[in-house]
């Protein structure tokens, strides 16, 4: 026996509006005006004559208006006759629901979330599905997943499955979920199918010209779109948080994006290792970004574990951004000034120090001293630059030797004060100095061996070095094993690099100020000096920090297997990573954790790396995709719209659609009401 069911049963409540006309008729009677009227008899006679006709008309209008108010919600509820599978004989109808549970679905919608509303709608669809028919529920958070049993489930099972859908921090993959559903429709081979896209329709979820249609035989499955939040609220998100060392501590720069079409202000809070800094207020322009800068004292040799948080808004999931900065991430450089001057630009360190500072705040921490005042403890520096230094005391030479062998970097540049004998006496420099310097006439520097890391900025071409004029230099004699990576135009070695212990050394045969050349005023000087120091300090790097997005898969180089992943400072339950040995080291495959936060990978050798897992910034943008584009992608634009309106779609529910008849009844009732009204 056929059962009357509804596609949108929630609208049936509106049928209660049908009691309004009788209520208005009973309660809304006006108090009559009393009028003493001489031609009373005429009035009475006319009233008597028309009384029965008017009563009939009133009753008719009451009935017709009541019917109108009942029929309209009934039509919106879209009734259909659900025939049992046995009666249909040839198969079942399939309801395919794509439910978007990505991060943006957690946005506020009234007192609940968009996901709550979508789940409620999915439950309604499941309730409207005949027990004989089947239901498919696929979630669109990346990676897409089938929630109901393969290939399809009964409505009862579907309702249970809907309850199990949880909010995620993942990005959206409507295309992936639809692709999954395509396979399921094919596997289930239903008689008919109808699709439901339950999504916030955020712009990031739909790619241009993406085909989201599902085929069933020669036809496309018709889709109904449900957007739980037609007017999303204002949303700001943390795009990035950059931390750099300063001479006194750290500087944190947070970038906040405003995804709304109106400027907005917010409060931003930063806490380092649980200690909160003073909050700041920022004004973010519409569809723009703004930065907030925090500075605080911090031991630069300690790691920084911090969190930036915004004031709650429409989507709170993107309001917190954790980050980590490994210890010694900036290079601490000690400049040993062999030729100090009172005029700053004539000072030996003037250009070199500025070149290191030009690359951005905190990249290098620079301190200056003199050969006679070389600190006893050099271990807190990553690299030392001996700039035009004279003879060294034996003790100083010994400390430099220990420093380099311990992993430090040493740069030796020449000049008028350079004492070749004491330099050569070290014995471990990658090049020896001749007794005296010589003039050089030909302009330009040559790169004999491309790809040396000390010249990494010039890997794409060393044209910038061709204009550098070196007027005087020591014609270096490379040590065995040393690598000459820079020559003067006459082919003489100008700079050589080599290793000593765990450390690295560069010898530069000319001055790094303007005494013996014009390199400091050439554009190539700045990147070259930065690259020199980075090359030298690499031996001190302790651990890496990687940034991943929620759900992102990444292969990382680690020291050795096995490797475990656990949340930093949070759940201590470690997760073993897929790991294999490779090229003397190992690689581990990290499947992005499902929640944003700070994670650490540990190996038998100790802590190896930190993972900063962040949400997809695109998820924070709640801007809608035009509905027409979504309909076009689903293949329903211009095709099913009329069908859906009239209700003659083959895939409507699981049986004959009745609401078109209800619509016809509405038209007839409306016409009758008008006719009766005009008849007076």
């Amino acid at each position: 026996m056929s059962m009357l069911q509804f596609v949108n049963p929630g609208f049936l409540w509106l049928a209660l509006l049908g009691i309004l006309p009788p209520l208005i008729h009973l309660l809304g009677r006006r108090k009559p005006r009393r009028l003493r009227f001489p031609p009373f008899e005429f009035v009475r006679r006319c009233e008597e004559k028309s009384r029965s006709r008017r009563r009939l008309r009133s009753m008719l209008l009451l009935v017709l208006r009541t019917l109108l108010l009942v029929f309209v919600p009934l039509a919106i509820a879209r009734p259909f006759l659900a025939a049992p599978a046995a009666a249909q004989g040839t198969g079942f109808a399939l309801q395919v629901v794509i439910l978007d549970n990505s991060m943006s679905a957690s946005q506020a919608a009234g007192g609940e979330t968009a996901l709550d509303r979508m789940k409620q709608r999915a439950r309604e669809i499941a309730s409207a599905t005949s027990p004989a028919n089947r239901f498919v529920l696929a979630t669109a958070a990346n990676p897409p997943a089938l929630v109901t049993p393969f290939p399809a489930a009964s409505p009862d099972l579907a309702r249970e499955a809907i309850g199990s859908v949880k909010p995620t921090y993942a990005s959206t993959s409507i295309g992936g979920a639809v692709g999954l559903a395509r396979g399921l429709v094919e596997a289930a081979a239903p008689q008919s199918a109808k699709g439901y896209l339950l999504s916030d329709l955020a712009r990031h979820a739909f790619r241009e010209a993406e085909d989201l249609s599902i085929g069933l035989g020669d036809e496309r499955v018709s889709f109904e779109i449900f957007d739980p939040v037609p007017n999303p609220g204002q949303n700001l998100s943390l795009v990035s948080a950059e931390v750099r060392g300063t001479a006194e501590g750290v500087r944190i720069t947070a970038t906040i994006a405003n995804h709304s079409r109106a400027a907005a202000g917010t409060e931003i809070k930063v806490s380092i290792a649980g200690a909160a800094l003073r909050p700041a207020a920022v004004e973010v322009p519409a569809r723009g970004t703004a930065e907030a800068v925090f500075e605080t004292a911090h031991d630069r040799r300690s790691p920084v574990f911090a969190e930036v948080a915004l004031h709650p808004d429409a989507l709170t999931q993107d309001n917190v951004l954790p980050f980590a900065r490994p210890p010694g991430r900036e290079t601490a450089v000690l400049l040993v000034n062999g030729d100090p001057r009172t005029v700053s630009h004539a000072d030996e360190t003037f250009y070199f120090e500025r070149a290191l500072s030009a690359g951005g705040e905190g990249a290098f921490v620079v301190m200056s001293t003199f050969p006679e005042a070389l600190p006893d403890d050099l271990s807190r520096f990553d690299a030392i630059a001996l700039l035009n230094c004279g003879p060294f005391a034996t003790a100083a030479a010994t400390r430099l030797d220990e420093f380099v062998r311990g992993g430090g970097g040493l740069l030796v540049s020449a000049g008028d004060h350079t004492d070749p004998a004491s330099h050569n006496a070290m014995g471990w420099l990658p090049a020896r100095f001749p007794q005296s310097a010589s003039a050089n006439a030909a302009p330009g520097l040559l790169v004999p061996a491309a790809g040396h890391p000390a010249l990494s900025p010039f890997a794409g071409g060393a044209e910038g070095l061709g204009v550098v004029k070196i007027t005087r230099r020591f014609e270096l004699v490379p040590a065995p094993g040393a690598q000459v990576f820079l020559e003067t135009a006459d082919g003489r070695p100008l700079s050589a690099a080599g290793r000593h212990g765990d450390g690295r050394v560069i010898v530069f045969g000319s001055s790094l100020d303007r005494d013996w050349g014009d390199w400091p005023i050439r554009p190539s000087y700045l990147p070259a000096m930065g690259a020199f120091v980075k090359y030298l300090s690499r031996g001190r790097e302790a651990w890496e920090t990687y940034e991943l997005r929620v759900g992102e898969k990444r292969v990382l180089k680690i020291e050795a297997c096995p490797a475990t992943l656990r949340a930093a400072g949070g759940n201590p339950e470690p997760q073993e990573l897929q790991c294999r040995a490779e090229n003397g080291g190992a690689v581990a495959t990290v499947s992005g954790p499902p929640e944003p936060g700070l994670y650490e990978i540990t190996t038998p050798a100790g802590r190896t790396a930190y993972l900063v897992v962040r949400t997809d910034p695109a998820e924070s943008d709640l801007e809608k995709t035009p509905r027409e584009e979504v309909e076009a992608a689903l293949g329903i634009k211009g095709r099913s719209a009329l069908r859906s309106l009239v209700g003659f779609g083959a895939n409507e529910g699981s049986g004959p659609a009745l609401w078109s008849w209800v619509l016809l009844a509405i038209v007839l009732v409306l016409g009758a009401e008008q006719w009766v009204t005009r008849r007076g």
């Binding site: 006006r30 009559p32 009393r34 009028l35 003493r36 009227f37 031609p39 009373f40 009035v43 009233e47």
Partner: protein, 298 residues
């Protein structure tokens, strides 16, 4: 005809007594018309009476004064050749509308004005109020008689159900010789033979004129919204949505007016529809012009 209004409605409204208003109205109306008064026939001596201060000194019989050294007025037996009988409907239905000029007030002013006019030209004027506690002032030609007529019109009871037929029969008995009978009524009478009794008056030789006094809202049925209509004469009630019966009412009431007019005209009765929003001098002027026309035709 000069259309310039000679009667200031505000002045007319301020004049408290009906007598004064009637005089003011008559003066204004006649001066506007270049009055042509009705002329009487010869006078038959009846006797003398003492002069009352306030009367026209021209009427003093100076010969009698010379003989008796007292003021006497010489009265004739039959001062006029025309007796004007003014019959005014004072039923409850004439007390409409509840605000503004009622039909009764409008009819009273017209009646008093006609009385004034008749008395001023030496004709006799009498008053008959119907239906309740009927008041009858027989026609007299004394000018001071206007005061009594006006007082009766002002103080006369306005209640009960009008019976035009009975009133006409009674008036026929009282009127005696032929005269001018002017009836002021809204003609709302349940008796379908009411009009016939008026025709009977005409057939007995009286010159009959009917002022059909109505309010504009009765003709146009301007009521709106749910209304409890009450009969002012019987207090019966009926609840009606006026919009629902307007068309039928206008049809029926229009037929009633047309029947009144047709029956009167066919019987030689001078029929005048007097709507209360028409200035009374206009109604009066039209009546007088109509009278002149009738006399000329006769």
């Amino acid at each position: 005809m000069n259309d310039r209004p000679l009667i200031d409605p505000q002045v007319l409204e301020r004049l408290g007594s009906l007598e004064l208003r009637a005089r003011y109205l008559v003066e204004g109306t006649l001066s506007g018309m270049h009055a042509s008064r009705l002329s009487g026939d010869n006078v038959e001596f009846a006797g003398h009476r003492e002069y009352v201060p306030g009367e026209d000194p021209k009427r003093i019989d100076w010969k009698a004064f010379g003989r008796l050294d007292r003021y006497y007025i010489k009265e004739s037996l039959d001062e006029t050749n025309l007796a004007v009988h003014l019959a005014v409907d004072c039923s409850g239905s004439m007390e409409y509308p509840e605000t503004g000029t009622t039909k009764g007030a409008y009819a009273s002013l017209l009646a008093a004005s006609l009385a004034c006019m008749a008395l001023e030209q030496g004709d006799a004027a009498g008053l008959y109020l119907f239906p309740a506690r009927r008041v009858h002032l027989p026609p007299r030609a004394s000018r001071v008689y206007l005061r009594e007529i006006a007082r009766a019109l002002e103080t006369g009871p306005r209640e009960g159900r009008a019976s035009i037929g009975a009133a006409a029969s009674e008036l026929a008995g009282m009127a005696g010789r032929r005269g001018l009978i002017v009836l002021f009524s809204d003609m709302i009478d349940e008796d379908p033979a009411a009009l016939d009794s008026i025709i009977q008056l005409s057939r007995r030789g009286h010159d009959v004129c009917v002022f059909h006094v109505l309010d504009r809202s009765e003709i146009g049925f301007s009521a709106s919204g749910l209304t409890l209509f009450c009969d002012p004469e019987s207090e019966a009630q009926v609840l009606v949505e006026p919009d629902a019966i307007r068309e039928a009412y206008l049809r029926e009431f229009g037929a009633f007016l047309e029947r009144c007019r047709r029956v009167c005209i066919d019987a030689g009765v001078d029929y005048r529809l007097a709507v209360t929003d028409v200035p009374p001098e206009t109604a009066l002027r039209e009546f007088l012009e109509g009278r002149q026309g009738r006399r000329a035709r006769a």
